[in-house]
Amino acid sequence: MRNLILTVANLAAYAVAAMAVFVLSPAANFSLPWWVALAAPAVVYTLLVRMCCPRANTAEGIGIVALLFVAHAALASATGMVYAAFTALPYPAAFAVAAWEYLPAPILQLLCVSLLVLPFRTLYAPPRARRRRPFAAMSASADAAGARLRSASDLPPSPFVTPDLPDLPATTPAGPASDGFAGGPVSQSTGIPPIAGGSRRDGAERVEEVVAIPFSRIAAQLPAGAFTIPPERLGANLLEPGHLLVPTRLLVPQLADGHVTVTWEEVADQFPRHALAVNEATVRDGLPEGRIVLPLDEVIRRLPPELFASSQPGADMQALERFPLPFRPVEPDPVMPAAPPEPPPAAPAAPSRPEPVMEAVPPVVNGAPPVPDMTPPVADQIEVDPPRPMPEEAARPAPETPAALPAPAAEYIPPFLAADRDIEYGLGARSVEPEVIDEPAPVEAGPVEVPPVMEVAPPPSVAPVTPPPLERPRVVVSHTPPPRFEMPVAAPVAPLEQPAPVPRSSASGDQARQASQLAAVLTPFGALEVSSTGIEGVTLFTFASGALPSDAVLRTAASVLPFLMSGRAPWAVDQLTVRREGGAIVITPLGSVESGGPAMVASVGRVGSLALLEIVCLKAAREHRLAFPGASRREPAAPAAPTAQYETRKAGGLSVGFLTGDLDAFGPVAPTVLRDSAGGNEVCVFLAPGGDSRAVAGFSVDVCRALVAGDEPALGALQSVTFRLGERRLVVRPVKGTPGRFSVLVAAGEAVDRPGLAHRQLQRAAALLRSA
């Protein structure tokens, strides 16, 4: 009804205006050529459709323009009839006056038609857009229907702010509650307040609440090549430009899982159909499990805070107050400083933290290692000073805890640490309970037998040979011609020289023996597909568990092979680990890369044990060198030569000195900030005093360039690259920064005996730098 009234009013206003102008100045000499009467409306209405119907495809746009043009012609025709009635002109002459000979008339017609269609905008929108009416309605639904659109533009300030933590008090509270968390579907156990959704509008349309997620946060998940336009334009052409609208009813049941996704079908309507390069089923198949993972921080920030408010009373802490504090530290707990102290940037950090007295078992057994005493804790290991000495007897009865499991505890030896034993995995084989370690690496109990290796004669056309069914790890040695991979070598990296023919220890039979021995050491990782591949003269033994795409793993290995050459890295490299979001790739040279290797390449997914894989690979390399000394001969490393010019610069107001104390796992290090001569890359280097920071910076940037150039979407973004020789570590982390900020963070230590801690400290430093 309202639209009808607006239309009638518009027409009436046009009629009055056209007549008034014609009566007041009938002799106005604003004559136009006749063809302008055709061209002007076409241009104006085309622009109008482009602005109002950006999602209409070409055919729909032409149709809408044609309709508007017809309306314009009808209006001109009617006006001509009125002019003919008021004057003595014949109708054709009056029509010419109304259409083009009297300029005010066509201008008024353009204006009227443009206004005429606005009330019916949703009608002349393309059918797909009309289907989204429930979403579109929400854009203007801050009315009685009660729907609330929390888009980026109308968001209230975030209810949650990450605390600065000047002091961290207990937040607690507790008391009787009405719901249970565990077990069943979250939607049945939430107990959250109901959200406005499902209210009805105009008696017909269902209006529901949505959350607007910035498209830039999820664009990377869409399959490559699924759309014909770049992500920026795709985002601008969404139903809500720049945002993906997700109904709240889909989000709330997932909030308690700490992970929120939507299926492609639930949001497909918001994408412009004409931008699809493939059909929707292909897009869905290209998404992990057909779902888009939403950024949880964006979701939570846009939800009402009362959703997370607890109506349950706090815990009764008064009863606890009757007991004095059982534990009182020598010094009170520290509090977070408001601003971290900034030591002089060049000053080396002194190791300040007193290390606790720990009995940490050496994880990697080099050479002929002593078998550590892995007996679980018993009373005689406890040292307590008077006046309250700890008991001499076992702290707990035998069957109660692992600490007191009598026989199994005495037997337990973490198997991969024992050099003289075959590798087992986990505790299952020696448990008091007949349980096995959970997936993904189920390993049977008992000593591991080296699986028989299928020796395949080298007929040229034999594809990977499937061995007979084995319960033990499946080992396949393929002798297919090595696939061609383009080496994504960064510009400053010296290309691998084709080595002179290297006297290999033998041909394929020898490779099979080498592969089978390496595979035997990798038994803890279950079934592996082993293959040998030659890349640029270097033999790579790859061990694929299926967690990562083997092609992508191989390409990544190829891209970093040049950095394993003597003289390229700051020191000879025992092992190189590339961490990406999707998993990690461990490359362990078995011989000199210049001499054709070989090297072993193993990978692990996100949930796998990277530490165990690194340990096992090092052990495999040791055994390989013993078994194949000729094939594993390594050349001594020449000193590294810098390949790029780097200049020390100031940190631009951001002091990195405060990070020095947080990197104590690398030993005493001093920060240096460098920028390359081209001014592009900025590197923050933490080295032991006296280290050549320029050489390390150039090398690190080259590594990042090579891996970014050979980017593998299937493996995710690059997180870090670690070079190790014994306890020496050089860790390179690209920092996602803005121009002028740090782009690469590097830390190196001479004796990093806690590499996990070092990794986490550097990860933390990168996060701090990124947020600085």
């Binding site: 937040t171 009787p176 509650a177 909030l255 997370f308 307590v384 805890t401 505790l427 996990g756």
Partner: protein, 205 residues
């Protein structure tokens, strides 16, 4: 399940630090070990991989109060957080008297927190333990990181059981909040063992 040694007049309690991998369980225990006076602690035993991931468990015996003439001793354990070490986790949980659930506050680790918490409930069920009846606190760790999720949402995810439990924010690498959580769970253990009528003598100082 406390173990009472009447001859030595000692009561031993077992507290387990539970949570997803790299959440800060071992770091919390290390801070406790560093910070307690020598007279109240034994040797810390840590079985970790080269990547500092706990492969079996960490163990730290500490002594606390004297209650009714009995010296109370707490054995602090951590569990390996990686999903495939569940059997080890179950073994460590056996006979425990209290649990500190260490959650990683980072947005990208929230899913692992929930999975670990549900794993804790499942493992306890196998021993016929009820988390609602067990002394338990939650320690929201890594609160100093810029990508830490807000505490109300963490509470919404992890602390909506029939009985809400005390929760604490912490930065285990710097020791912030670690003793708050430990003292609270220890008091809850003592309360469940002795009730409210007891004669307490501090042994810590």
């Amino acid at each position: 399940m406390s173990i009472i040694n009447y001859a030595a007049k000692e009561i031993n309690f077992k507290v387990v630090y539970y949570g997803p991998g790299v959440a800060g369980k071992t770091a919390s225990l290390q801070h406790v070990h560093r910070s307690l006076p020598d007279g109240n602690k034994g040797k810390m035993i840590s079985l970790a991989t080269g990547d500092d991931r706990t492969i079996f468990f960490d163990f730290l015996p500490v002594s606390a109060l004297t209650v009714r003439g009995f010296v109370t001793k707490f054995q602090l354990y951590t569990v390996p957080g990686q999903v495939y070490y569940n059997m080890t986790r179950k073994l460590v949980l056996r006979g425990m008297d209290g649990v500190v659930f260490v959650a990683d506050s980072q947005w990208e680790r929230l899913k692992e927190n929930v999975e670990s918490f549900r794993n804790l409930e499942e493992n306890l069920r196998e021993y016929n333990y009820e988390l609602d009846r067990m002394p338990c606190v939650i320690q929201y760790n890594k609160r100093d990181l810029p990508n830490a999720a807000p505490v109300p949402y963490l509470e919404y995810m992890l602390n909506r059981r029939a009985r809400r439990v005390p929760s604490f924010e912490s930065v285990a690498s710097r020791g912030v909040g670690v003793f708050d959580a430990l003292n609270t769970v220890s008091r809850m253990v003592l309360l469940s063992e002795f009730g409210q009528e007891q004669e307490v003598q501090s042994n810590a100082s």
